[in-house]
């Protein structure tokens, strides 16, 4: 055909090269999601085949030419029960199967590496623990469970990595999390899937999955010099938090050391867990988060600290917690041990496999 119309030929070649019908499987969750998908496709094909067979066979067997007089039938309780209970049973199997997968995606193992992602019109800002910043790109190592903590600074966005089969909304004013563990080095699509205005379709990027060795190299080469916690420490001083939260016996604010993930009693008698969401809220709306025994004197920081700054502060407060620090160190050693195990069989990561 190439001698008939070279243009058309080029067009066809281009097409066939770009003809994808199945996304790459690049996370530990992907095979589970795909198994569920094929089971659902199987159910759909079976159901459709059943209905189509009934319609076709009856249409041929009982068309007017062959069957001029209809036989009136009232119905059948037995049949009604059959086609109520069997579909219900099948649907319930999928309910349980789907729920198991859902809880897997949204409940990360406690030792996962945390990466913050802030969505804004129209870009993804990624903040690594070590202070590496990226825009519309996410570099991650294989073999390490990763928790992405999402927040939006304007409207709803949605963080979607089809190759990992995961997706989560980035909600204004609220942290959400998603978890995955990449398995195959390569370059994969990152999309915003929640309509967010003019350049919604430009709010896309790439996820670079690297071997632990390559990741460590990337991490070292891209650091901005200060980790999130260190940035937070600086901000903590510059906006004057340390005037009250200084840990001394006479301080007007509570001591923040070892406060992360503990249960706090508030002045109104209720209790709350001091997780990331709580810490963020307590900075923005302190009057609603006064610990018992303290006066409400802290001013609000709503509109004064950006989401990135809040992340830094939250990370700083977390770093004051000894348990959390130990866990961070374990994560580091996890990456280096994963690195050790893949040493010698390193694959070129970046752009190696096209999804």
């Amino acid at each position: 055909m190439s001698h008939i119309s070279p243009v058309l030929w080029e067009f066809l070649v281009h097409w066939l090269k770009n003809f994808a019908i199945f996304p790459p499987e690049a996370s530990t969750i992907a095979p589970y999601a795909d198994a569920l998908y094929f089971a659902l496709v199987g159910m759909t094909v079976t159901g459709l085949a059943l209905v189509m067979t009934m319609v076709l066979v009856f249409s041929i067997r009982y068309r007017k030419e062959r069957h001029p007089e209809a036989v009136q039938i009232e119905g059948s309780t037995l049949l009604e029960a059959t086609w109520t209970l069997i579909p219900l049973g099948i649907f319930l199997v999928f309910f349980v199967w789907g729920a198991l997968l859902y809880f897997r995606v949204f409940n990360p193992p406690p030792n996962s590496m945390n990466i913050y992602v802030v969505g804004k019109q129209w870009m993804w800002k990624v903040e690594h623990q070590g202070g590496q910043h990226e825009i519309n790109a996410l570099h991650i190592p294989t073999g390490v469970p990763i928790q992405v903590t999402l927040i939006s600074q304007d409207v709803f966005h949605s963080f979607s990595i089809p190759a990992f089969r995961v997706k989560r909304e980035a909600i204004p004013g609220r942290y959400t999390t998603v978890y995955f563990e990449a398995t195959t080095p390569g370059k994969y699509h990152l999309f915003c899937t929640q309509y967010c205005g003019t350049n919604h379709s430009a709010m896309i990027g790439w996820v670079y999955v690297m071997t632990p060795a390559d990741y460590s190299a990337w991490e070292a080469g891209n650091t901005s010099g200060a980790s999130l916690a260190q940035n937070g420490e600086r901000l903590f001083a510059s906006v004057g938090c340390n005037a009250c939260h200084n840990g001394s016996a006479t301080a007007r604010g509570p001591n923040l050391a070892n406060v992360y993930n503990t249960r706090i009693r508030l002045t109104d008698g209720s209790t709350a867990i001091a997780n990331e969401a709580y810490l963020r809220e307590a900075i923005l709306a302190p009057s609603m988060h006064v610990p018992a025994g303290y006066a409400q004197i802290m001013p609000t920081y709503q509109g004064q600290i950006s989401e990135d700054g809040l992340i830094d502060l939250v990370e700083y407060i977390k770093s004051l917690d000894s348990n959390y620090r130990i866990q961070q160190m374990l994560n580091k050693s996890q990456i280096s041990s994963a690195q050790a195990s893949t040493e010698g069989k390193t694959v070129p990561a970046q752009g190696a496999a096209k999804p």
Binding site: F22, A33, S59, E80, L88, F94, D154, P162, P172, H200
Partner: protein, 553 residues
């Protein structure tokens, strides 16, 4: 192929001397009418008008998506085009499609009444619909709106400077139109059934509309309130949904989907109602499992209110509430399955013919089965995470709404056209149109399931090149589909003047509406009928015809 169509002798047949169409003449007699049949006609014209606009916008969307970059129009324009397509097709076409046209025309005829309970409210509902429609048109003329049909906050309240409030008020007005229609149907079905018309002698068409009306009345006010809150936040900066003003962005999602999920049942139940009538008539058999089909409509209406959160599984709702809503969503799928199996079994030992409405009904069964079963993918929590907000959603929704509802609507229009106008359309060409529509539909929307699993997000003006091949298929299919919809718009008006005279009962159907002249008198029945048999009683019809032949002969 044999047929059951029996038309009167064309050389002597005439349209009835008096009917609702020639009772009065002049624009005023139409615009001030209280006659449910004339109001149905007003609705038919208006929704067709909006369908054409929505369809052209759909065509523009498919053209833009032919190539990966946003080259046909700017992204802003594309956003406006898909928003207007959604708003027009859902609120101005799908919601009123079957109930306000075919339902309006038929419910009094089917229950044996002279009109709906509140003729003036019925007319008012058309004016509200037109008011809403004009506001939406005004939105388009003024420069459009780019919120998507879902009006997601805080995007719609603070981050766009398009005509959000105008569009929202248009939908607000149109919402009242559907509340009034629902109110009218419920009162009519309760209070105005003719002697002998017990609940279980009602045609299933009426049961379907009863269930629809319940949702219209209970659900639509929530949408109205939500839109008012959006308008208040937008114009007066009251912080209801915007977190930077102390609002809760998830609250909007809850309120919006509390209406908009039941609303998809507003859109599909009347279609199911049509299918029951059509399948029964063309297989000459009563509907298999009448009570199961009737109660499954009511079950859908009730369960439909309890599943809205399945639109929010990845939005940070509690994981345990997601479990509950996933389970309830699985339950709501069951009544639809029951209906599909009952329709299929109705064909068993029937005497089947394949006229145009039956072809559309077969299309409905096939496409709705796919649409319904792919809904299970989305109700399955872990699968929804990957599929939601992609083209899988788009494909699923269009399989149910276009493959299901639009097929059913066309089945209904073709089925009752002879009753509404007194004339038949050319069968050969209308059957062709049904087949073209089916093929065009599959080619358009099936590739979108695959695109969805690949992860292509919806509402993208530009997309990565890997997705192009499937998008080209989809656009090609859309052009076939366009032809399928264009044909009825040509031959149906043509038939008004040149079609064969249909006579009272061209399909040999059993419903009360087929036992009177076509087109009917303004007062429907010269004397109120007495219902002395079950619905779909073909023996009764045969005896009646036999008796008439004897007395006349």
């Amino acid at each position: 192929m044999s047929t059951i169509v029996s038309l009167p002798d064309q050389s002597t047949a005439k349209l009835p001397a008096k009917s609702y169409l020639n009772q009065e003449y002049g624009l005023k007699s139409w615009l001030l009418t209280g006659d449910h049949k004339r109001i149905a006609m007003l609705y038919l014209f208006s929704i067709t008008f909006f369908f054409v606009i929505g369809g052209v916008l759909a065509g523009l969307i498919r053209l833009e998506l032919l190539t990966p970059p946003a080259d046909l129009m700017a992204t802003d324009t594309y956003n406006k085009v898909f928003s207007m397509h959604g708003i027009i097709m859902i609120f101005l076409f799908l919601v009123p499609s079957v109930p306000a046209t075919i339902g309006n025309f038929l419910i009094p005829l089917m229950v044996g009444a002279r009109d709906l309970a509140f003729p003036k409210i019925n007319l008012l509902s058309w004016y509200l619909y037109m008011g809403g429609g004009l506001l939406v048109l005004a939105t388009m003329v003024l420069g459009g709106v780019d919120t998507g049909w879902t009006f997601t906050t805080p995007l719609s309240t603070h981050y766009l400077n398009t005509h959000v409030v105008t569009a929202a008020m248009g939908i607000f007005l149109a919402g009242f139109s559907s509340i009034f229609t629902g109110l009218n149907f419920i009162v009519t079905i309760h209070r105005m059934r003719c002697p002998g018309m017990t609940w279980f002698r009602l045609p299933l068409f009426v049961w379907g509309h009863y269930a629809t009306s319940i949702i219209m009345i209970l659900g639509t006010p929530v949408l109205a309130i939500t839109l008012v809150l959006v308008a208040l936040e937008r114009t007066m900066n009251i912080g209801v949904f915007d977190p930077s003003k102390g609002g809760d962005p998830l609250l909007f999602q809850h309120l919006f989907w509390f209406y908009s999920h039941p609303a998809v049942y507003i859109m599909i139940l009347p279609g199911m109602a049509v299918i029951s009538e059509v399948i029964s008539t063309f297989s000459r058999k009563r509907v298999f499992g009448y009570t199961a089909v009737a109660f499954s409509s009511v079950a859908i209406a009730v369960f439909g209110f309890l599943v809205w959160e399945h639109h929010m599984f990845i939005m940070g709702v509690s994981q345990y509430s997601a479990l509950v809503f996933s389970l309830l969503t699985m339950l709501v799928a069951v009544p639809s399955a029951i209906k599909i199996f009952n329709w299929s079994m109705t064909l068993y030992k029937g005497s089947i013919t394949f006229e145009t409405p039956m072809l559309y009904a077969f299309g409905f069964i096939g496409l709705f089965t796919i649409g319904g079963l792919t809904g299970i993918f989305l109700a399955t929590l872990g699968m929804d995470v990957h599929l939601t907000e992609t083209y899988f959603i788009v494909a699923h929704f269009h399989f149910v709404m276009v493959g299901g509802m639009l097929m059913a609507y066309l089945a209904g229009v073709h089925f009752w056209w002879p009753k509404m106008t007194g004339r038949m359309y050319p069968e050969a060409i209308s059957k062709t149109a049904a087949v073209i529509t089916f093929i065009g539909f599959i080619v358009t929307f099936f590739p979108q399931f695959i695109l969805g699993y690949l992860g292509m997000p919806r509402r993208y003006a530009a997309y990565p090149a890997d997705f192009q091949v499937l998008n080209v298929f989809s656009t090609a299919g859309a052009s076939i589909l366009g032809i399928g919809y264009l044909l009825p718009m040509l031959y149906l008006p043509w038939s008004l003047k040149y079609g064969e005279i249909a006579g009272d009962n061209p399909w040999q159907a059993t419903g009360l509406e087929w036992q009177i002249q076509s087109p009917p008198l303004t007062e429907n029945f010269s004397e109120i009928p007495i219902m002395d048999h079950e619905a779909y009683d073909y023996e009764w019809l045969a005896n009646k015809t036999h008796h008439e032949v004897q007395t006349v002969g």
